[in-house]
Symmetry: C2
Subunit: 334 residues, 2 copies
């Protein structure tokens, strides 16, 4: 409320105690009598005291800030990223931390900078590629970090993600159970596979493996994101595979186009072609018809990433790899 900024010394004076006592009340690192605690807390309230972040960071060697590194590359599905980001911020606040947003255009220099300057205590990286430039840097950094996604060599790192391999397999299983004998996977744009992005590749692997397990036929194709390209892909797919009756779509931007293309090609969903998507719930629910889907648990992944990074900050050990099991929600499209 006051115009000027309030310091801990003023709180101490107001409460009639030493500065260090105020600090201990606030941090809980030493026992303080109930009476003194009350007086200090009242003074904090009355004066509207907020500890100065810089001073606190300097003295305690903890900034209470974590970095969130977003690459923001082409072909990324942005709404999902945003939900991750939002989940990370919310989860970080639960641990009394704030989130510094870093994008890729500074390259690894940005990561090095915020770490070396003690601006952040730890890092959460999103959209990790199989062969990611940032990974070797992380290994040499003293600050703990957590990756959302998996690089090619995850040993010694801490990675979280949806288990995309299981998700791909789960979709096949679902379609097999429904009696489909020939199916296809429409995946990410080919540029994403070329870049070696893990989640796209792993979904495809799970899909292909499960075909064998269930003894059914199937192909896996990349899928671009404009209507015309999607239309062509779907049309050719149906021409080449007249017996095809099930589709797994792992591409959020394309899924609407796939449905539109099927409509235009005179195929009814799910009567002629069943569709299962791997996408956030709201996208699946908003489609017409609503899609059976494996949801991408952005909130859960974000929360988990923060939990892990906090564990590491506190010196607890974190597992190398955390794979969240896929959840299939059956809706009208299958």
């Amino acid at each position: 409320m006051s115009g000027r900024t309030v310091t801990i010394a003023e709180v101490a004076k107001h409460a009639g105690v030493a500065v260090s006592t105020v600090s201990y009340v606030l941090s809980g690192k030493r026992t303080i009598s109930a009476d003194t605690r009350r007086r200090v807390l009242d003074s904090v309230q009355a004066l509207g005291y907020h500890p100065n972040a810089g001073a606190r960071a300097l003295a305690s060697k903890r900034s209470n800030v974590i970095a969130l590194v977003l690459p923001l590359r082409a072909g990324m599905h942005v709404p999902v990223l945003m939900r991750f980001a939002s989940a990370v911020v919310t989860a970080a606040r639960r641990f009394d931390h704030d989130v510094l947003l870093l994008t890729a255009d500074e390259g690894t220099a940005g990561i090095r900078r915020v770490a070396a300057s003690a601006l952040v205590d730890a890092l959460v990286l999103m959209d990790v590629e199989l062969d990611d430039l940032r990974v070797p840097l992380l290994r040499e950094l003293p600050e703990p970090s957590v990756l959302i996604g998996f690089p090619a060599e995850p040993a010694g790192l801490t990675c979280v993600d949806l288990d995309f391999r299981a998700a791909g397999a789960r979709c096949v299983q679902h379609l097999a159970e429904r009696g489909h004998e020939e199916i296809a996977l429409l995946g990410a744009p080919s540029v994403v596979y070329d870049r070696g992005t893990g989640f796209a590749t792993r979904t495809r692997e799970g899909f292909v493996e499960a075909l064998g397990t269930h003894g059914i036929e199937g192909v896996a194709l990349p899928c671009e994101e404009t209507f015309d390209e999607v239309y062509e892909t779907v049309r050719d797919l149906l021409l080449d595979h007249p017996g095809l009756s099930g589709l797994v779509v792992h591409n959020e931007s394309a899924v609407g186009h796939v449905l539109a293309a099927l409509r235009q090609l005179g195929r009814r969903v799910p009567d002629d072609v069943a569709v299962v998507a791997i996408c956030p719930d709201d996208v699946a629910e908003r489609a017409s018809p609503p899609l059976t889907s494996v949801l991408i648990p952005a909130e859960e992944v974000g929360r988990e990433a923060v939990r892990l990074v906090m564990d590491k900050l506190e010196g607890r050990v974190a597992p190398d790899s955390t794979l969240l099991p896929p959840q299939l929600a059956v809706r009208a499209s299958s």
Copy 2:
């Protein structure tokens, strides 16, 4: 490179100068001889020195961090937000600042906290509503701030946005010039209008005013975002207005559905119905057919917001209101 963290004192010793000299070399706030500067810079390089952010903030009363406040509400178009965010981060780095990401779930308390704790020097707020709870808080905060979007009473604030009123009018002008005499605006979902979000309302106002100017007929409707709802809206619109031949769509999520609905209703674009969108360029280009559009200049707005907030930080005066003029790109849909 070294394991431990390097301090300014070590740089000073290495270069054979005083600590303050190193500081002045780095900040440029006093003249330093070319020779000394060289030696210091070499030592900085050799030791891999990065100033400690907390210490710097404490001593200089500047954290070199700005807050970016994202509400992340329902009905927001997320990809656009992300592009704003990314532009803000990039622009901030140009001014040697980092960006702290704040979401709304902490409410105004979060803003108050980061400001009072001197975690940030200034604030950039996105997705401002006509009647925004955060606005009164900003007025009493000593830290400078910039809004992306306009509240109902922008006097004394600094606001940046695309000139949506002009954008709405520009679309009408374009369709009028093409000879269309009855057109419609499909806008944001009704919840967005109900919330009083400025950009939706202002586009509609510009649209309606321009109808009069050009002496043509038109209606403005809200537009939901699922295919089925869009389909119904478009179908009813065409039924109620048989002479309608032009459509302005200001809803990124719905624009694909609008095109699909028109296809399904047997209307060709642009021969039967011309479509003009207000959306980011990539969405317009990716549609089928590619859409004539007024682009939403996310990068430019983000950059401008940062420029303004830096002006205010440096004590320069910033204009209350910055409206970026709309740019119409003519493509195949009109």
